[in-house]
Subunit: 157 residues, 2 copies
């Protein structure tokens, strides 16, 4: 069955949070999820800091993607950064992950973006093999650094 | 001498491009810079996909930072992603890099962002030591994947 897509709306916040928690559980990071409906509504639908699409089989949402624009100074233009891509376990193995990635790639190309990027956990071999099969390049020589919480506040003062 | 900051304006595009190329040269990636004044002007000042601040000693721009908002579904809110931070070589060793990072951290906190993140090349030990001294956490278990050029177009079709 082929997928269709729709943009998430404010009324979808509870469903989105449920999907975020399911993805976090798969990534063994559920304890890191502090998002709630109110923060998601504020930052996605009021402040518009991310875009969300749902993938539907028939009338049922079976996965989602959350993305935002990043920027490459080398290219001099924006790219798309895919923060989350998720397909419910019972719908895997049908090419839906690829269909969602294809949809995001088409949005990137339509908007004239130079790149599509995302991160993957190093132990997630099935996903890595899939990404490599699409021709994605692992940026092995770069490491992400993060400041958050008290460390961030301390530097800011 | 203490630094001051100003937001980049459209008339600064040539200066910004010069700084971007100097940074790329330091990173041994100058051949990857295809940005020109016209792409930078379109994507930064028309489409507003990134923000740029210059650091000034007296009246002279001695460095810059380019950043944009990213998004964490686990936190349910935006963060700031620092794409470029640069201090001209002759002004290094005076704490200006830290002052720029401090400025970006203060913007993140002011805006209620949960995180400040950036990438560093694995061979750049002086920078890594500096980031670790601030309490930044290296996300060693994640790798960035990138689709660009023909591979991106092919997936999009």
């Amino acid at each position: 069955m082929s997928l269709r897509f729709r943009n998430a709306e404010r009324k979808d916040t509870a469903l989105l949070l449920r999907f975020i928690k399911e993805l976090a559980e798969y990534e063994k990071m559920l304890d890191e999820v502090v998002a709630d409906e109110s923060t998601l509504e504020e930052w996605i639908f009021d402040k518009q800091k991310a875009e969300v699409i749902f993938a539907l089989e028939g009338d049922k949402e079976i996965g989602y993607a959350l993305f935002f624009h990043n920027f490459s100074t080398f290219l001099g233009r924006a790219g798309i950064y895919l923060e989350d891509i998720y397909v419910k376990p019972e719908y895997r193995g049908r090419g839906y992950g690829k269909a969602i990635l294809k949809k995001i790639a088409s949005i990137a190309v339509e908007r004239g973006c130079g790149r599509l990027e995302w991160c993957c956990l190093d132990w997630n071999k099935p996903s890595i093999d899939f990404y490599l099969s699409l021709g994605a390049e692992p940026l092995d020589e770069w490491t992400i650094y993060r400041l958050s919480g008290e460390k961030l506040t301390k530097l800011a003062i």
